[in-house]
Amino acid sequence: MTETTKAPAEPRETGTLQLALREIFGASFTRTVLAIVIGFVVGAVLIIITNEEFLASVGYFFQRPSDALGAAWNAVYTGYSSLFTGSIFNSSADTFGAAIRPFTETLRFAAPLILAGLGIALSFKVGLFNIGGLGQMLVAIAGASWVSFAVPMPTALHMLVAMAVGVLAAMVWGGIVGLLKAATGAHEVIVTIMMNYIALYAVSYAMRAGFLHSPDAGTNPKTPPPLETAQYPALLGDSYRLHLGFIVAVLGVVLYWWLMERSSLGFRLRAVGENPSAAATSGMKVSTLYIITMALSAMFVGFAGVNQVLGGSVGLTASADSGIGFDAITVALLGGGNAIGIFFAGLLFGAMKAGGPAMQIAGVSPEVLVVVQGVIVLFIAAPPLVRAIFRLPKSVENGPIAQKFSRTKKGGE
């Protein structure tokens, strides 16, 4: 009885999540591209139906359809071309250096998305659902930020210590989730959501009146700017804002790949993800591995948090995570759980963040990109639907999840 009450998690639930994720992570290249196309098409529809000129010309659509169609085309073209100009290549710039500046911005925005995406994907791989990205990032922001402004140190060392403290804080914060799950069986989705709020209020307080408060900010919650010794150095000189954070993200991708594909710990983690009961039977300590998983997941997320602090030269507020904690879930899903996939998913989402302001200037609300992201991931997550829309053949390897369920059923549930 002791054993059953202390059982770490309900295998049945992790099992189905894992099956679903395997389906999503097994998404073929074609399907991913198609999902992205659908995403942008849905975005275009939204842009059109909220466009003022289009709405005005719809009234006399049958007299002069060219007006409405022209307005529709204009709205979509303006929106998406400004997204391209703002995130990839600005052809109207005078020099080549200025023209590729948007792309360096994309890389800059992508770095924390990639890092946090790796973290969330790691938890997915083990069958855990870490929605605690927000909290873990905030805790990392708090730790790194405090070291970066309050503890003067020599140049390179300062940066490394700030990184270490921030990441460790996140690992502890994430580890608590694993601990609670392992010790009491509490569901990690609820626990991470609650931990998000606790971190949000705690960090807000620290920024408003606690150890993170900047005296210059009055009663507003804000941190002092990080000392120059702790900031990530610029990669391409001072005319670009791209900084070391992107290299950290690339290293994170390599680390994730090695950890999950080559290390023995990664093997055990994946084994738990595939089938916790089987892993336990073969002698693995599943509850310990859950704690390790959450700590490692939070470690990658923590690097994303650190990026927000050391990647800039200004003080931060409690909204410094800029939604990356949640975006990471979509990045992880789109990236298909493997290192390279997450890297490119992070780049795509980074491009959307970088291009947003340009869209805003062009008069198209960049919030449409959130819809695009949502649609992409929804369609990645629903393989049968994409297949039905595009009449793709059923691939045996990535067969519909239904088959897998019926197979497990017959297999002796």
Partner: protein, 424 residues
């Protein structure tokens, strides 16, 4: 020890181990209460005021010394803690009423402590608490229905947001708030249908679809908000608020009257729906089928219940309730749509479902706790409490963590939750 051969030695192994989690949690709170409110408590008077705005005060104010109150409360909490230790030692179940009573004591102590040297406006606190609770309660009811049928509804957050948005939008365009209310409810149920199509028909993991649907709704509403509503508030986002309806006679009752019987239609509907959902789940054939589908879909299928159709309609129709929660957020409260105004309340509703162990009444109680603590935070900030409001705002989340981690015992979810049913 002379053990006879008759005494089965395996007997000892069956005895349940003593569960110390609840007593330990209790003693922490009792110590906090005793020392914070009593020993270190302010020795000024605190006035518990029953007066409501607009109506003459019928009950006299209650004046007590804050520190004396703290000692009494602390003592009582120690007594209950001792009781729970005894219950735990004798391996007996700690009833929910003990937890509720203990929580109430702590709450009274907290109110006295914060209000020391001033007034504790009971009616103001309760009215605000109910107002804050309405969306969470409605979300929790929808969540409880879905989970009972075996579908984890993470998309409650999206349903609240969509309901709020649609109500504000339709209310502005039609100028009719009742139509707006129904539109909001229907939009919530459409989001529910979306979740159901993907999770029930296409067997996509429910948590993943839920999270993605939330992203989608946040995107759509924010987009329309920034591209239409902020451009022309008057034309797209100026619905006004549902009027408060004062029920004659009943609203004259002291304390209860102004708190319960001078509310908006959304609040009355909420109370009606709490009863409706409870009766539906436990007293009707439909409810039995619904629960069967969530507990043992194969058995339900065997006796001729269409599992997937039931799940689809439960999630879709419960979306009407979650949509109403969204209506309460916009035209039932601030009168207009604000970007991402659901602000995580859908997730909180889901936590309430688990906190209430999948029972709609208990989930409602948990949602009220959230509402009350929110209102308490607002009041404590005004009253100039010694603890910063950030910490007060944190309380419900910490309480949920403690509760999920064992304070209320291990919660047992419906057996088939988040498990697609595939006929073989």
């Amino acid at each position: 020890m002379t053990a006879t051969a008759h005494e089965p030695t395996t007997h000892e192994a069956i005895v349940r181990p003593v569960d110390w989690r609840a007593p330990i949690s209790f003693i922490v709170f009792a110590l906090v209460g005793f020392f914070a409110f009593g020993v270190n408590g302010p020795s000024t008077d605190v006035v518990f005021s029953w007066a409501a705005k607009g109506t003459p005060s019928v009950l006299p104010d209650l004046t007590v010394n804050a520190r004396a109150l703290g000692f009494v409360i602390g003592g009582l909490m120690f007594a209950i803690t001792a009781l729970t230790f005894w219950l735990a030692l004798t391996r007996r179940k700690i009833s929910a009423w003990i937890v509720v009573g203990f929580a109430l004591l702590f709450l009274i102590g907290l109110l006295g402590w914060v209000g020391a040297g001033g007034r504790v406006p009971i009616v103001y606190l309760l009215t605000g608490a109910i107002a804050f609770s309405v969306p969470v309660v409605l979300g929790a009811l929808a969540g409880a229905m879905g989970e009972r049928a075996g579908v984890t509804n993470i998309a409650i957050e999206g349903q609240l947001l969509m309901g709020a948005f649609t109500a504000a939008f339709v209310g502005t365009i039609t100028g009719n708030l009742i139509i707006a209310m129904f539109a909001g409810m229907i939009s919530g149920s459409l989001i529910g249908a979306l979740l159901a199509v993907f999770s029930v028909k296409y067997h996509v993991d429910q948590i993943i679809v839920g999270v993605v649907v939330n992203v989608l709704v946040a995107g759509i509403t924010s987009f329309v908000h920034s591209s239409m509503m902020t451009r022309d508030e008057q034309a797209y986002n100026y619905p006004g608020t549902l009027p408060a309806i004062r029920i004659p006679l009943l609203s004259e009752i002291p304390v209860i009257g102004p708190v319960l019987f001078n509310q908006r239609i959304t609040t009355y509907l909420m109370f009606a729906l709490v009863i409706f959902v409870t009766v539906l789940l436990y007293k009707t054939r439909t409810g039995l089928r619904l629960r069967a589908v969530g507990e043992h879909p194969l058995a339900a299928d065997t006796v001729g219940i269409n599992v997937n159709r039931t799940r689809f309609w439960v999630v879709t129709l419960s979306g009407l309730i979650a949509g109403l929660g969204g209506v309460a957020l916009s035209i039932g409260s601030v009168g207009g749509f604000i970007r991402e105004m659901s602000a995580g309340q859908g997730y909180i509703a889901l936590a309430c479902v688990i906190l209430g162990r999948w029972n709609p009444l208990a989930a409602t109680a948990a949602a009220f706790l959230f509402g009350f603590s929110k209102q308490f935070g607002v009041w404590a900030a005004q009253a100039g409490a010694a603890i910063p409001t950030d910490f007060i705002n944190m309380i419900p989340y910490i309480v949920t963590l403690i509760a999920v981690g064992g304070f209320v015992g291990r919660s047992i979810a419906p057996a088939a939750i988040n498990k697609p049913y595939v006929k073989s």
